[in-house]
Each structure stands twice: as C-alpha cells, then as structure tokens.
C-alpha cells in the first residue's frame, strides 16, 4: 500500500515558511491543547516543539481512548478474561493498562485466552470459527473506532453469529471538550481539534462549543505541515482576539461528517453518562450498546460486578489530561511510573501523554 502522498505533507521548505509565519505572528504567551493522541504522537515524532517560539506551550488533552478508560472498566475486562467460556479480543494498546490489581497482559500470561486483533471484524471471524466459546470484543475508542465496532455487531446479527459479543466502553469527544472548556481552572487559550474524529462527526459537532465558550478552535490533520498550518491559524486567531471554529483539514473533514458512520453508530449505541479516568463522570460522553442489541452486549450477558477501588495515589494523570500539569510535574513520572511499569493511564498507551514524553523527551538516562 504505497503512501506516496505523505511526503508532500513533510516538505521542509513549506515547513520552514509556516514556522517563520508562526514566529512572526506569536506575541503573547499562550497554551494550546491538542485533543487527540495521534496529534500528540505526531508532534513528538516530528520534533515540532523544538521549532516553535517560546511563547507557545503545547499541552495534551484527554485524546487517548485507552488512557481515559476507567479503572473499574479495566477490572471488568480482567473479570471477563478470567472466564473459561470467553475468548477476549482487544486492540493491542489495552493489554498493558493496569486495573486495580491486574492487566490483560498479566491475565494472558497466566493462561487466559486474550487475543490482540487489528479490527473488530477479525474478532467476528474468530467467533464464527469458535462457536463453542463466547468471543468478546472490547470496544474502546472515540468516534473514530466506534463505527467499525457498530458495523461488526450489525454484521454478526446479519450472519447469525450469536457468540460474538461486544463490551462497549466508547467515548464521545465533543462532551469531553465541552467539559474542559467549562472547567473554571482551565488554562488553555485555544484547541487543536482532532481531525479523525471530525471526519466522522463533522465540524458541526464542535460548533456549539465554540459559540458558547468563545475559545478559538482549529481542526487539524496529522502530518507535520497539517499541524503547523493549524497552529498558525490558532495563533492568528488568538493574536487578533477572534474565537471561531476553523477547518485546517479540509481535504478530509466536512461540516456534516460521515453520514454512514453516524447512522451505524446511531443504530447500535445509546448515549450515556460516562466515567473518564482522571476526569470523572462527563454527561452524555459515553456510548453503550442500545437495548435492541442486548443479546450481543457483554455487559448484559455476564455478571461483571467488581469492587470499587480508588485510583492510585499521587498520580497526576487527571491534571495532565486537563492540561494543568505536564508529565514532568508529576512526582511519579519516570520514578515509579514508566512504560514498563505504568501507574497511570497516560503512561500506558504509546499515545498517552506521559509515554510520549518519556519516549521522545528523553525519558531514560535523562
């Protein structure tokens, strides 16, 4: 699968011009938040921070779906993994996430049948081949992942694969951004909105937020030039005292988004209040399986009650996710919390803020 188009968005000369433009325009010190783990990774991988003026601080928001999955849900995943009648299927990032006492990786090592898949359709195929077992797929992710999980579930019904179940722990992005904007202690001057999410939801999902909270927002893509272009527009807005929603990822994102993906989500999921690790409960920010598909809902089919365990002490993930702290402000960072032994969720996923800091900002030996 050739990806020749990528080079066009990494051109050094165009980058140089955009960087010069940002340096010339940026006067007052500002804090900009990217709300997407893939943005966080791309910023680190391209070394973008080293090119920005000192006036601009980039902070990472709650954009990694694994990171914001509640500890209680991880404990429920572990409980599912321990069932003899279950083959648990998951995206790889979730394996290392610590629950209160164990992780899926530890359960797999202890002999539980936990398998990494790259698509929920692979899990569905596995279910079709293993009719004697319940194959449960862990639906973790934002609007980017939820449609494919919904499609797999509808496909399972159409094919009559009744042993395929989904545990839906999906999250919706706009309510989380709204919760951040509404927070009295928010220290963010502008938001870089997630291009992949907007591809599905359309920019219109975020318009009411900008109208209400009057904070500059720009939708950005993921290549270095996409990021620089979006940042330049954020700086221009802030310096001009504007606060509007702009789309700097027009080659992919429209106002209305992907109607088909929205429809399939609508058909399968119900919107619920959801707990975000580090942020607490955010109204209407979760997607659970709708009543009509109860037969394929793992939460309805199994007793998954787990004890309430408080989240680890000293972990600053909540403040990191809100942009109040950077990873190096946390007392646990790099001491008791490392990618090999993560304490907080931001260290677990490769897209988590703390893991990205550790990897690209001189973690070990620093």
């Amino acid at each position: 699968m050739p990806v020749k188009h990528i080079e066009e968005y990494r051109d050094r000369e165009i980058a140089r011009r955009l960087i010069a433009q940002i340096h010339a325009a940026s006067r007052k010190p500002i804090r900009l938040m990217e709300v997407c783990g893939t943005h966080t990774m791309s910023i680190f991988r391209s070394g973008l921070r080293s090119l920005l003026p000192e006036t601009i601080t980039l902070v990472s928001g709650p954009g990694c779906p694994v990171c914001v999955t509640a500890q209680r849900e991880i404990d429920q995943f572990v409980a599912l993994a321990r069932r003899e009648d279950v083959i648990l299927t998951t995206f790889g990032d979730l394996l290392r996430v610590p629950g209160s006492g164990s992780s899926l990786q530890q359960e797999r090592a202890a002999g539980c049948d936990v398998r990494v898949v790259y698509s929920p359709l692979d899990a569905l195929a596995l279910a079709a081949r293993n009719r004697g077992k319940k194959v449960v797929f862990l639906g973790v992710g934002f609007e980017t992942t939820a449609p494919t999980v919904a499609a797999a579930l509808l496909s399972a019904r159409a094919q009559g694969v009744s042993n395929f179940l989904v545990f839906a722990a999906h999250k919706r992005t706009p309510p989380a951004v709204a919760a951040l904007m509404a927070a009295p202690d928010l220290r963010v001057d502008g938001f870089l909105l997630p291009g992949h999410v907007c591809l599905v939801t359309g920019t219109r999902a975020f318009q009411p937020l900008v109208d209400r909270y009057r904070i500059p927002c720009v939708v950005g893509g993921f290549e270095p030039l996409d990021l620089l272009g979006a940042l330049a527009r954020l700086v221009a807005q802030i310096e001009a005292g504007a606060a509007v929603l702009e789309n700097a990822y027009e080659r992919a994102v429209t106002a209305g988004g992907n109607a088909k993906a929205q429809a399939v989500m609508e058909a399968v999921f119900a919107t619920v209040d959801a707990e975000w690790r580090g942020l607490g409960v955010i109204p209407e920010s979760g997607l659970k399986i709708a009543e009509a598909h109860r037969a394929l809902d793992a939460e309805a089919c199994f007793d998954l009650s787990v004890p309430d365990v408080p989240e680890p002490r000293g972990c600053a993930c909540g403040q990191v996710l809100k942009g109040l702290k950077i990873p190096t402000d946390c007392a646990l960072y790099q001491k008791t919390c490392t990618p090999m032994h993560p304490v907080g969720p931001c260290m677990v996923s490769s897209e988590g803020t703390c893991a990205a800091y550790y990897r690209y900002h001189g973690g070990e030996g620093a």
């Binding site: 050739p2 391209s46 070394g47 790889g92 973690g363």
Partner: protein, 336 residues
Amino acid sequence: MKPDTILLDHGSGGKAAHRLTTDLLLPVFDNPMLNALNDGAVFHLPGGRLAFSTDTYVVDPPFFPGGCIGDLAVNGTVNDLAMCGARPLFLSVGLILEEGLPMADLERIVREMGRAARAAGVQVVTGDTKVVPRGAADRIFINTSGVGAVPAGVAIDSSRARPGDRIILSGTIADHGITILTQREGLAFQAAIKSDTAPLNAMVAGMLAVETDIHVLRDPTRGGVGTALNEIAEKSAVGIRIHEDRIPVRPEVEGICELLGFDPLYIANEGKLLAFVAPAEAEAVLAAVRRDPYGHEARIIGEVTADHPGRVVLETRIGGSRIVGMLTGEQLPRIC
C-alpha cells in the same frame, strides 16, 4: 515407507534418526567433516583470533516472503560473526522439531539452510536433532553456532565510536519485522514486502578491504536501528545524530507502520548493517557497501557528536529534533 511427518522416532537415536541424517541432512550440507559423523568436527584454523557466536531461531511463521527459518538461522549467525569483522568459516546446527512437523516442511527448511550456507561460503560441520512431543515446541526451533577468523588489525567494538565518525546504514529498514507481522494470523495486507534476510559477510569483507579500521559494526536485528544506536551511544559514551530524510524505508513498509502506529526505527532487520567509520574513510567504505548486492541503497545517515553523550537525536524531515530512546516493551498496535 517414508513417513510424511516427523515422529518421535526421528529423535530416538535409532534407525529413523539415522535415516533422517543420512538421507536429508548429509546430502544438503555435504562436507567431509560432517560426513564422518563423529561426535564433533575437527578442523584446522588460520592463526590469529577467532570469533565465536550463537543464536537461536523461533520465528513464527517459519515460512515468510523473502525466506524461512532455515536461511534466517544461517544468515543470522553468519552476520553476527561478520559484525565482529570475522570471516565466517564453520557452523553447527541444532534442530528441535515438534512431533507432527510435515516432512516436506523440514526438507524445505534444510534445503534453504544448505543454499544459504553455500551462498555465505560457510560449512555446516556438526549438528544435532531432537524431536519433542506435540505441543512442547512450535513446529521447529533452530540453533546455529559458528566460528570465524578475525583478520589482523581489525578492532571492531561497540565502544569505539568517536566524535566525527560517520554512520553508514546499508539499506532500507524494517522490512523483516513488518513482513513477519503481516504474516501473522489476523493481518492480511496485500503488500509486496519481503524479509531482507541476507548474508553480510561479503559486504563486510569488501568494507575491510578498503579500510581495516572500521570502528563499530552492528546488524540492527531485534529492537531495530533505534535500539542498536542507543547501545552504541551508551557503550562509547558519545552522542549520535541521525537524519530522518536519509534513512531509507520502503513506501509499503512505511505505510503499514503509519497504519499500525509503529516506528520503523524499532523494527527488526535481518540483512542490514550499521557501520561507524572515521570521516576521511567514510565515502570509500560507503562505496564498498554499495558494490555489494545487498548494499545498493546504502546511505550515510548521521554522525557521532561529542554533545549529548549516551543520547541518540533524530533530526526530523521538517528540521525539528527529537530523542530516539530505547524501546520499552513490545510495540503494540495503536487503536485510533
């Protein structure tokens, strides 16, 4: 009648084991030392220093585009010896077979080992075969050990990188690791990528012929170029600076890495080397690498600095810089 799968009998030391040795292994590896079927091989060596190395191969799946566990096992030990600057001479082969392994698979793997040994100019002079019950191993595991002769004046060591040294990379990275990944169950990419498994001893001989004093040689296998460079930076107590736009990655491989969230700098290679050479000799050594059939795409990807000792810094395509750390844990595919 010849059985079509491996049975426990084939490891018994009895008739079936003897037949396996005489009918399959001896004809493939054919040489007087092995054919003598003594408990060990006795051979003359040129005077001077010897290099000795061992590695064990458990790759899943055993057959993959570009090679199989057989040629991988030969090339791997040949390359480990070559990275010491040695001329590989003799190998041992230990086979651990799972009961039920199709005989045709074993024959194919052994033939590939024979072909790889001839291509690298080494002889398999001793070996061993064990068969374990079904489930006690995954089809086939192979250990190879080897000895090689180190020419006088060669002093390759990962502690010898010096500020100013140029860093040569012999070709595209991440081909092997991504090939294996895409072959595993559940990943069906239709991309024409293959493992880069290849012997590098002729390349190294060509390099040493133009410059005896190569400071460091490494084949960046597991952990990839990123991990190998970190180890060298640490052992030599120097900084390393590499340039993203000079590191060759096949577009298909880069595409899969983008899709799955992998960094090609940490993906395994099985037919590539990194060489650290003083600046005055760098171009001549690079030319020697490029003359080798496996080195046409070689580039100078960076240099050694006195700054930031122990650290590897990457200059990105857009001119930014970032640290390339050690890989921690398994690289896991991202989910969004």
